[in-house]
């Protein structure tokens, strides 16, 4: 988790306005969901280029994540290929196989869109975009605060776990219960301390966030994105399978 988050702050597309990235990946996601297999293949490859080359995310990270997702997929596929009739007779149906292949391409392409967003856009900047999209402020506030605390707890959990390991522990289910218990205590401690801090700063009942400003549209990437999307859509139209 820390890893993807760190990459999101340090990749080469960091300075590209978040709206551009969010819109781009959402648009591609839409095309993936509606499009055919050719379009999905092109999108998988194209996004790999964006992620590894333009954003300079290390290819090991990308490949590892991709393998993990493929593994998840593989686990679930046999279930779909096999069909059982009422007499518990197991058979393999050829129409199922083509369904599964379609599913594979769609899933991986959709995942690519999500992953692109994940490694190029810091979560806070994603929230700015949500705000522009007029998502209710209570949701954004909660996401905003949660994001801050996630890393506080991640650290606490991590240090507790190291301390357990230092005393040869951490493999027992009872230790897991202890860890959860400690984290709950920390949660309460944080609540008490932070509510003082909030009041000390005249908390008005509304957690705020300023608009990120000064982003300029990045023409080079915008240009490529538009051309690419148009070409993919054309590919779909020529293939005649769009929608």
């Amino acid at each position: 988790m820390n890893r993807f988050d760190t990459i999101a702050y340090n990749n080469r597309l960091r300075k590209v306005p978040p709206e551009q990235k969010v819109f781009f990946s959402f648009l591609l996601l839409l095309i993936v969901m509606l499009g055919n297999r050719d379009m999905q293949t092109v999108i998988i490859i194209w996004l790999a280029v964006w992620i590894v080359w333009y954003a300079r995310v290390s290819w090991q990270v990308y490949v590892k994540a991709l393998l993990l997702v493929s593994a998840f997929l593989c686990v679930s596929l046999p279930l779909l290929i096999v069909s059982i009739d009422h007499s518990f007779h197991i058979s393999v149906n050829s129409s199922n196989i083509s369904l599964v292949i379609t599913l594979c391409f769609r899933s991986i392409a959709a995942w690519s869109c999500l992953f692109f967003l994940l490694v190029t856009t810091p979560f806070t900047e994603f929230l700015y975009t949500l705000k522009r999209m007029k998502v209710p402020s209570i949701i954004i506030e909660l996401l905003f605060l949660t994001y801050r605390f996630v890393f506080v707890f991640a650290r606490a959990a991590d240090e507790l776990h190291v301390a357990m390991k230092a005393r040869s522990g951490g493999n027992h289910w009872r230790h897991a219960a202890m860890l959860i218990f400690q984290l709950i205590q920390k949660t309460w401690l944080y609540y008490e301390a932070l509510s003082f801090a909030l009041r000390a700063r005249s908390f008005s009942g509304e957690i705020t966030y300023v608009q990120k400003e000064g982003d300029v549209l990045c023409k080079r990437y915008l240009f490529e994105a538009i051309i690419g999307v148009v070409m993919i859509v054309l590919l779909g139209v020529i293939g005649g399978e769009l929608l």
């Binding site: 605060l145 890393f151 301390a193 009041r199 005249s202 008005s204 705020t208």
Partner: protein, 268 residues
């Protein structure tokens, strides 16, 4: 400036922490509060801007008795800035800009003013280089620095700090104290609790010794730290410098407060 008169406070769990505390923080001075852990320092600070309300006794701010109405509180809290011990317990927003703007926005300051203050504070605390970093990528020292900045952006007239130098290394302490002196130069009264007696000795104008919910000694550091025996009774020691000096020159009552002062004296 800030005055406590006979303040009593008992926590809801029955623990009585302030037991008739009286204290006067004078305007424009560098004040230090010392005392062993658990003597009530943090509780005292929480009374200094109305986060806790005394069970009995009065608190005065700039000569006026505090009435704990919402409006008074809001103004008061803007004028008294507190930097808590643990920056993790103070920083609320996940990014630096938002963290700085948080207090201002709560006071419904106008956007253009916020932006201007943001710019100033970023310059003042040289935060520009971290600007794009999220708070969870900062080190502890940087978090401490940021929590000071996010309090100072409110332009308080009294700055309260709880153990600001713990876990910092020498260079970080130096930078931090330099900044505090800067802030003090600009007219802000500074009030700090710490265990670092040498720091207190060198830095403070006034020292308050707290013990068991009361202020038991106060005065200039050279006056307070001469009374080694009494301090011992309150579980507080003597700054190393004072101890060395007393050993070397037991008859000389005027203790130098820093190495520079020793150097100067040696020359004379």
């Amino acid at each position: 400036m800030l005055k406590f008169q006979d303040v009593y406070y008992t926590y809801p769990d029955g623990q009585c922490v302030l037991k008739g505390l009286s204290l006067h923080v004078p305007l424009g001075k560098k004040c230090a509060l010392i005392g062993h852990n658990g003597c009530g320092k943090t509780t005292l600070f929480l009374h200094a801007n109305g986060l806790l309300i005394p069970d009995s006794g009065e608190v005065y701010w700039k000569g006026k008795k505090i009435d704990y109405k919402q409006k008074t509180l809001q103004k008061w809290r803007q004028e008294v800035g507190i930097v808590f011990q643990n920056p993790e317990h103070q920083l609320i927003a996940p990014t630096i800009t938002e963290e700085l703007a948080f207090g201002l926005h709560n006071l419904r300051v106008e956007k253009s003013v916020i932006n201007q203050l943001l710019q100033e504070t970023m310059d003042d605390f040289s935060l520009h280089k971290w600007r794009d970093k999220p708070i969870h990528h900062l080190s502890l020292g940087q978090k401490k620095w940021l929590s000071l900045a996010s309090v100072m952006i409110m332009k308080p007239s009294l700055l309260i700090l709880d153990e600001p130098t713990a876990y910092l290394d020498r260079l970080q302490v130096e930078r931090f104290m330099e900044k505090l002196n800067d802030i003090h130069q600009k007219g802000v009264t500074v009030f700090m609790a710490t265990h670092d007696l040498d720091l207190v000795f060198q830095w403070a104008d006034v020292v308050f010794v707290m013990h068991d919910g009361q202020i038991v000694m106060q005065g200039k550091p050279e006056e307070v730290f001469v009374q080694g025996e009494r301090l011992k009774q309150f579980q507080i020691g003597v700054p190393l410098l004072a101890a060395v000096w007393n050993t070397l020159f037991p008859n000389e009552r005027r203790i130098p407060r820093s190495i520079e002062e020793i150097k100067a004296r040696m020359k004379v």
